[in-house]
Each structure stands twice: as C-alpha cells, then as structure tokens.
C-alpha cells in the first residue's frame, strides 16, 4: 500500500495547472484534498504519471452567496460548509447533507470539487448537485464551460470531465426561504458511504400544495439520480400520509439498486422508499 511512482507538480495558476494536465496524454491527475485519490494510489488502482496539486490555485476556496444562489469554490472543504453560518438559510439542504460526510479528519481535508470529480455513486455532494440542478464550472485547454449535473455524472467514478479540465466551482441555484426539504441517509456505521440516501425539496404553493419537487437518491445506482416518478407523486399534492406513502412506493419502484457486501438489492430498494418517506415527513413537519 505504498504509492506508485509519479511526478508531482504544484502550479500557482489555473492555466498552468490545465497545461500540466494537458501535457500528459490524459495520464495526469489533479489532486485536491486527496481523500479519494490517495487510497486509490495506495491500492494502486490509479497510477497517474503526474499529480497536479491544486492547493495553490487562487480563489477556489471561497463560498459566494448572492441572489443567483450559492457558488462553492472547488477547493472548499466540508469543514468550510459546516462552519459557514450563512448556509443555514442560503442552502440548508447542502448543510444537512454535508453533515453526513465521513469523519472529522476527512471533513478537514476533503473538497467539494474532489468529491464531484471522483463521482462515487454514494457520495453526498454529487447527490446534492444532481438534486439541485447544479452547474459544474470547469476550465480546460479549450476554455471554460458549465456542465449541468445531469450531464456530468456518467457512471460510477465516471464523469464528463475531459482529462485536461479542472472543476473550478459548483453553482447551486438560489434557495427560496419557503422551500421545504429533507435529507436522509443510512450507513452501517456513521460516516460510512450510505447504503442509500435521499435528498429532496419542494416549494409549497399558497394553498399548501407541493410544486417543483426535486428528489435525488445516492447509493442505489451507478450514479446519483433524480426520481421523476416520485417528484410527480409529490407535485400538486398536499404532503399528507397518503402522498408520502405514494411517493415512498414510487421511489422503491423507480430504483434499480445493486447488491454488494453491505446490503442486498431488495433491502436497498425498500430503504430508498423508507428514506423518501422520512425525508418527506421532515420536509412537511
């Protein structure tokens, strides 16, 4: 479990970093907090010829909040989100989800951009990005672009990021104060990757009925997903026992979970329904 041989660079500017990534025929890898990449190197399941350390890149560690929403610099760490009091109102769902990320030591190091780029199917941040229609701003040798979360996650540990592109920012659309939300996940031990997790929100209309429901799940497929069938079961309805039961049933029906050493597929299917039920109850409470 010693690291394989690689070259190391720690550029001071984004353009330098991009140039370094572009110079190694797709065999260079950016490293931010290293909480996913370092174990992969130790197990030698990744062995890039060059590691490009992003820690000196300026301006990537800011959390900006304005009327457009929340912009998380790619180097923002979980700890920064936990400590930022403004997010309690600016994006309470993000705050609720990030409370479940791993353990103290990892939260002090792990970054928003690293988690998005790593794209673990059970990770919270990709789930929030997916649920909230986040834009993922990236810069590469051919310039900058914003990729919609729905187009970004292609499979387990697979994204639309080009080898020379670096994530610079995650853009979460503005959060209306009347929005209702819930986040629920369940892992065998606290801090582990969840066997399933659910992030959801809706906007109550003046009559109290739900609209604009967004329901995302993690841990039950090869990537974070939106569950449109569940959203349809919620939209236009009062969030009462009957709606919650319909939504939970729709969630269980909608997912195609995998089996692994921690949980069976049938369990994950049921768990997804249970978590939707509980998240909705919290949202409506």
């Amino acid at each position: 479990m010693k690291l394989p041989p690689f070259e190391y660079a720690c550029p001071a500017t984004l353009s330098e970093a991009v140039a370094l990534l572009a110079s190694h025929d797709g065999d260079a890898k950016a490293i931010a907090g290293g909480q996913s990449l370092m174990p992969m190197l130790a197990f030698r399941v990744a062995s890039p010829s060059l590691l490009v350390d992003l820690r000196k890149l300026p301006g990537l560690n800011k959390i900006a909040i304005d009327s457009d929403g929340v912009k998380l610099g790619a180097m923002v760490r979980w700890r920064d989100i936990e400590d930022d009091e403004r997010l309690k109102t600016a994006h309470p769902l993000l705050k609720a989800a990030i409370a479940h990320v791993a353990h103290y030591q990892i939260r002090n190091r792990g970054t928003v951009g690293g988690s998005i780029a790593h794209a673990d199917p059970a990770a919270e941040m990709p789930g929030i990005a997916m649920t909230c229609d986040a834009g993922i701003a990236v810069t590469g040798k051919s310039g900058s672009r914003v990729i919609k979360a729905a187009d970004f996650f292609l499979g387990a540990l697979t994204t639309a990021l080009e080898p020379d592109e670096i994530i610079t920012e995650i853009r979460l659309p503005a959060w209306p104060q009347s929005r209702r939300f819930g986040f629920q996940e369940f892992a065998r031990r606290r801090g582990d990757f969840a066997m399933a997790g659910v992030a959801l929100y809706y906007d109550p209309d003046p009559s109290g009925k739900a609209s604009n429901a967004h329901v995302g799940v993690i841990g039950v497929g090869d990537r974070p997903q939106r569950l449109t069938a569940v959203e349809a079961a919620i939209n236009g309805n009062t969030i009462d026992e009957a709606t919650i039961a319909r939504a939970a049933a729709a969630a269980s029906a909608a997912v195609e979970p995998q089996q692994d050493i921690h949980a069976s597929a049938a369990y994950r299917r049921a768990l997804t329904g249970t978590l939707v039920e509980r998240a909705l109850k919290i949202a409506a409470a």
Partner: protein, 760 residues
C-alpha cells in the same frame, strides 16, 4: 509492611511511554543497510504454480533480490502446529512459501527485497506468475463434496472430527419430552490489531547469530520452530519483543513471514524488515469464527436441560496453522457454557477451504458456542412458556457442584472441569445493575418508532494454560529490583500488573520495581507467552515462586556477609539486616538474581453475565444499544483499571462480531473484504453505552494468587445476547435471528418474513 498493590486501581506504567510517543514498535527499528521485504501474494485461490519469472523485477533500480521457494534447498519448511499437534493434521500444515500449489488468495509466492517498500511494490507488478487454475473450494459445503481437493494425498478436505462427549446423549434424547433442533451460524472474523504485524531480522555472520525483532505472544516456542527450520541452535537466535499494537490471539503465532524474513536476512547478509500493510493484514493474519451448527437441545418440560447433540462445521481455510484447531475444539467442548448439561454428543468437523487459514481470536470457539446455546435457550423459554431468566437460573451450574466436569473431547483426550464460582450470583448482580425488573417491562414495545429488546446471557471464560511460566528477579546497582518474565506483553498492561504482584510479594513500594522485562528470549531461560488469558495466573504465580527463591538467595548472601545464620537475616525495603544491628544496603548485592516458575495443568474459569437493552428500527434494520452491562468474577482482581479495560475492550470486539464484522469471499475464493471500508470494525461512536462490573468473590483454588484469566469474557456472550435482544425486540414479527452478524439487511429480512407470515 504488608502491601496491597494487588487489587488497587494503579494506572498503567507503560502509558507514560506511549503517551509521550516513546513506545518502540518494530517499524521504528531501522538499522543501517536495512532492506525492505515486500511479499508477492497469490491472487488465485486454488491453482498449480507453473512458473514465477522474476527477471524483470530484478532489473528495477533499488531491487536487491527476489526470493522464491527455489531458493530454499530441500524445499520450503513446513510450519508445525503449536497446539493440538495431531498426526491427522500433518498433511494440512502450511509451507512457508507456496511451491507447488496455491491454496488461498494472499498465500506468499515470492519475497522482494528492495531499498524501500515502495520500490518493492513496484517490483511486485513486474513479477510474472503463471498459475493453472484449479476448482476453488469456496465454502465448507463445497469442501464436503471432495470433488476438488486442496491436498490430493490426503484424499479429503476434512482434516479432523473432534468428538465432545458426556453422559449418554442418544438415550437421553430418545426419552426427552422436549427437543428443538436449529441451524445457526457465525460470521468470519479476525483479531484485527491496530498495528499490523512486522518482523525485522539481523544476521551476524561472524558470530552466527540471528536477531529477530517483532516477536510476540509465544517467542520461545517460535524460536524452537525457527531454529529447526533454519538450521541454527536455539541459543543462536534471539527473539526480541517490542511494543505492539494489539494481539488478540492472532499476533505472534508463527506465520510464513516469521521464517521468510529471517531467512532473507541470512540469505543476503543484511538486515531485512517487513511491515505488513492493512490489505495484507486482512488476508494474511489468521481468520477465525466461521462456523455453522446443526444442533439439538433436549429439555424437561420445566426447562431443565437434558442434553445437547449435533454437529458444528468450521471453515478452516487453506491450512492447519499453529493454533488452528483450538476454536473448532472449543466450540464443542464449551457449548454448554456455564449451564448444567448432563448429556453431550457434539461433533466438530474441520473443513479445509480456499480461504485464509484460521487461528485463535479472543474467546476462540466460545463466542460461537455462546451464540448457539444462548439462542437455543431463548427459543426453549418461548416454546415452554418459561421466563428466560428463570430458565437460566434453573440451569446454571451451582457453586456446590464445583469443580464441575465438562464434556471430554477426543482425539485430544481433553478432560476439563470448571474450578469455582457462583454463577447465579453474577447473573443476579447483572440483572440488578441493568434494572431488569423494571426496564424489561418494555420488552417488544414500540416507542417513537423503535422496538425495545432485552436479553441476558451467561458465560465462562477459560484461562491459565500450562504447562509452565517463568519469572526472574534481580537486584540492580541502585538496590531497586528488575522483574524478568517469560510472559509476553500484547497490550494487557503486564508491566503494571507484574510490578504490583512483585511489590506485594517482596513487600516493597512499587517504585522500587524499576523494570518489568517480558517476552524476549534473552530475559529468562524459558517462557510460554501470552495466550488463553494466562499471564496473571501463570506469570503472576511464577513471580510469587521467584520471590521465595530470591529472598532465600538474599538471606544466604546476607548470612555470608554478616557472618550469621540465613534464618536471622531480615530483608527490608532497601537494606538487609542481621542480628546485633548489623546491616548493609541491598544495592551491595547488585547482580543477585533468582528464578521461579509456576507449573500448572489445570485451567481457571472466570464467569459472568451479559445483559443488553437495545432498540431496533424495524424499517432500517438498525440496532442501537441503550445499555449493556457485563458482570465478571475473576477470582482475584489484580488491577481493576486494566481489568475493566479488558472487559470493555473485548465486549466492543464481541459487538463488532455480532453486528458488523464479516470476512467475505465469493464462490471462487476471491477475497471481498480487503479494506476497512469492507470489513467494518466498531468505531468510537458505535457502541457508547457499555458498562462493566468486576468482582472477585470466588478465588480460583488452583493457583496461589486465586486469580483467573480474564481477558476474554467480554467477548464471549456478546453474539448470543445481541441476537436474543433483537429477537426480543422484534417478537411481534416472530423474528428469530439464526446467523451473525446482525446486518441491517438480515434484520430487515426477518421483519419482512414476519410480515409476510402475518399476512398469510
């Protein structure tokens, strides 16, 4: 002066060293010119080796040598069994490196020596291994088919059957008014140590001496094995015990690396160090626990147990390792636990499979058998409409029945008996401490979305394995005393407890015991180590014996010096005095030393009761512990602080086995749990509400201290108690857990099955 250090809550002497970062582990040693060993391990579970090509690896800068079986003239040595060395096991013993076949994922194929471990790992990728796949034996069921054989000459994948017998079980079952038969199984665990294993070997060619650091648990025995294998006299090998991060029965047994690294050092005439990484640790250190029982219990209508009958199957993995048979023997020998069972007929079948070999892990066979008997008792109670606690009260061995004989086991001719104790007393204390009478009214109740469950289970824990332990006392230049022990330190706090025992025996303040040296082969003439919860009983009693000889030697020396009779000599704290006011400083006898030993062929049995109050979220299959109490009587408490640490620590390990831990393979023998994200250990937040109460109401009659082995009791009953608590919580679903670990998926499945049944 009469001391009372024994029984006092003395803080651990070793902690100051550890807390200051001054512990010295084998990886802290780095002599000049050291080469790092990295081991190529088989990625194939079962196959025939065609070739191992190391040419490309040898070209990598920094790679010194690659060693394979071909470098060992006469073929690789075989690792003999330490415990139960039966001739039947011979064909199944492990060579130190694979040479014809590989039999598990993780089996050593080659050893790379390089200037760094990282370069060594680079070289692993450059070694080309050709292996013809053979049908893997991925389970004990597959083993029983004997279609694919791990050892063709043996003709069978079954290495042995142990027979545990008492009374006449068949006749008793034929006439029994009530019988229940169950199939139950336990997961595959291991004694995961925080610090993985490590070996550092130095060869002094001029003196023909080999020094091996990283020894633990049984250094003297391992020296005998190594001397024979490597062709050196025993006294040309020094085994050095360093600080270690945990033992749990797994560290310190003789593993392939315990030959390979010393061999490599001699082969290249340079110091060689090997530090196991976590992935290796998961697949190379002894596994344990994976058993399945098909057993019956017979009772009278009033719940009096008549007998136990049936079979237990153990998945032994690929080889019979040094202590590999202990768990499989114990699981049938101790199935009855602390309960009076007049008739026993249990067979234990040992199946060889293409998995990492098994060895002992804290409470070997006892954790498993306690799960079996405790599950059965709760089912019996339900069937017969008897209160679960009353059922246990009725069947616990009474103190008047001590010493109580248990089932004898063949072919090892194991005949044992419990030594002393009032098991009922510990049960009642435990019920009081957890508040059973009041709180258990919540049994099965659903409160705020969680079902409340309770369980109680009783256990015995064996200790004090013989045949012998040694201790030596010596006078230092400043008149303080040093204690040398044959016992080994694997984190139990032996430096503290032996200092307590020695200070009491010598009737001197504890700070006059300057050092307690332990384990290394250069401290005493002979030693037996740390296993079977034996250190305090065996080592402590050896200290008492050494004290007698030490005092006699001082009297003799004093008599000579002062010209008087030895019987007139008085030994003070730091002075020796004779008649007429003549005296001299003890320091004047610097270098005086005396050895002592304790010989013993009997075992101690500490005992106690666990009780749990849990809640279960039936939708998630999630269990939380509200309160968990262990009461354990250990005969005589030497240090309540270290003892409580042992009880709580072993309880957490037991809960890990009950709820989380399971080493898994697929049907092809591929290892699926090679990281700590796969093999789930308890973390600090998982089981916060654990309490223990230790007592010493009933000393052991078999040793002068009255002490009993006490390092394993916390683990023993945890599986059965947690499963029974889950059954109790989910009684409205008719849930009956029949396997461990109690994963969320498994608990959820029990709830689903119950709901389906209710709907039908």
């Amino acid at each position: 002066m009469k001391n009372t250090f024994i029984g006092a809550p003395i803080e651990r002497r070793e902690d100051l060293r550890f807390l200051r970062g001054r512990g010295e582990y084998v990886d802290d040693l780095a002599p000049n010119g050291v080469l790092y060993a990295v081991i190529l391990r088989s990625s194939v579970a079962h196959g025939r080796i065609k070739s191992i090509d190391t040419a490309a690896a040898l070209k990598i800068p920094g790679v010194h040598t690659v060693i394979t079986a071909k470098d060992m003239p006469g073929g690789p040595p075989i690792i003999p069994m330490r415990l139960q060395p039966l001739p039947e096991f011979k064909p199944f013993e492990q060579p130190v490196i694979a040479h014809d076949k590989v039999r598990y994922v993780g089996e050593p194929l080659a050893v790379v020596l390089a200037t760094s471990a990282a370069i060594g790992e680079d070289a692993l990728e450059a070694i080309a291994v050709e292996i013809d796949d053979l049908d893997p034996v991925g389970s004990r069921e597959a083993a029983a088919k004997n279609k694919s054989l791990l050892f063709e000459p043996a003709g069978s994948n079954r290495s042995l059957v142990f027979h545990a017998r008492k009374g006449d079980a068949d006749a008793a079952f034929a006439n029994a008014p009530y019988v229940r038969r169950e199939r139950l199984k336990t997961g595959r665990h291991y004694g995961l140590t925080m610090e993985p294993r490590g070996v550092m070997a130095e060869w002094d060619a001029a003196k023909g001496r080999l020094t091996v650091s990283g020894a633990a648990k049984v250094p003297f025995f391992n020296r005998r094995i190594l001397a024979k294998q490597i062709g050196l006299p025993e006294d040309s090998i020094e085994m050095i015990e360093n600080d270690v991060g945990g033992g749990y029965g797994a560290r310190g047994e003789f593993y392939p690396e315990d030959f390979l690294i010393p061999f490599a050092a001699r082969h290249v005439n340079r110091p060689v160090k090997w530090i196991e990484d976590r992935r290796e640790n998961l697949m190379a250190m002894n596994h344990a626990r994976e058993t399945e029982a098909d057993i019956e219990i017979a009772c009278e209508r009033d719940g009096t147990i008549i007998g136990l009958r049936g079979e237990v199957h153990t998945d032994m993995g690929a080889y019979m390792r040094t202590n590999g048979a202990v768990g499989a023997r114990n699981v049938v020998q101790f199935m009855a636990g602390p309960y009076r069972v007049p008739h026993v007929k249990l067979d234990s079948l040992l199946w060889m499979t293409n998995k990492t070999p098994v060895g002992t892990y804290r409470g070997p066979g006892r954790f498993e058998s306690s799960f079996y008997i405790e599950r059965l008792l709760d089912m019996v109670a339900e069937d017969l409409g008897i209160d679960r606690v009353d059922l246990r009260r009725r069947n616990l061995v009474a103190s008047a029945e001590q010493p109580y004989p248990i089932a004898s086991v063949q072919p090892t001719n194991a005949n044992d008996q419990y030594d002393s104790g009032d098991y009922r007393e510990a049960l009642e204390r435990c019920l009081t401490e957890i508040g059973w009478a009041e709180k258990s009214k919540l049994q099965g109740k659903l409160i705020d979305g969680r079902y409340h469950g309770f369980a109680v289970g009783c256990f015995v824990e064996g200790g004090a394995a013989g045949p012998k332990e040694s201790a030596r006392l010596a006078v230092n230049d400043d008149g303080t005393i040093t204690v040398f022990m044959g016992s080994s330190a694997v984190g139990q706090g032996v430096e503290t407890v032996f200092a307590q025992i020695a200070a009491d025996a010598l009737e001197i303040p504890m700070d006059r015991i300057r050092h307690v040296y332990h384990g290394s082969t250069n401290t005493v003439s002979d030693g037996y180590g740390a296993y079977h919860s034996r250190s305090i009983v065996m080592g402590g009693s050896a200290v008492l014996d050494a004290t007698k000889n030490f005092h006699a030697a001082i009297r003799e020396a004093g008599a000579k010096k002062l010209g008087c009779d030895a019987s007139d000599i008085k030994i003070g704290e730091d002075r020796v005095s004779g008649p007429g006011g003549k005296s001299f400083a003890l320091a004047e006898l610097a270098g005086l030393t005396a050895e002592g030993a304790f010989l013993n062929h009997k075992h101690t049995y500490s005992y106690g009761t666990h009780a749990a109050h849990i809640t279960v979220d039936a939708q998630l299959g999630e269990v939380r512990i509200v309160d968990y109490v262990v009461v354990q009587d250990v005969g005589r408490i030497v240090n309540p602080l270290t003892l409580r640490g042992q009880v709580i620590g072993s309880l957490v390990q037991g809960l890990g086995g009950a709820m989380l831990e399971h080493l898994q393979y697929d049907d092809h023998g591929q290892f699926l749990t090679g990281t700590l994200a796969d093999y789930l250990l308890p973390t600090a937040g998982d089981f916060p509400n654990l309490r223990c109460f230790v007592t010493d109401n009933h000393p052991s009659p078999i040793n002068p201290l009255g002490a009993k082995g006490a390092g394993e009791g916390g683990i023993v009953a945890a599986g059965g108690v947690m499963a029974n608590a889950v059954a109790n919580a989910l009684q409205s679903f008719g849930a009956q857990p029949r396997q461990l670990p109690l994963t969320p998926t498994y608990i959820w499945e029990l709830v689903q099955a119950g709901q389906r049944q209710a709907a039908e």
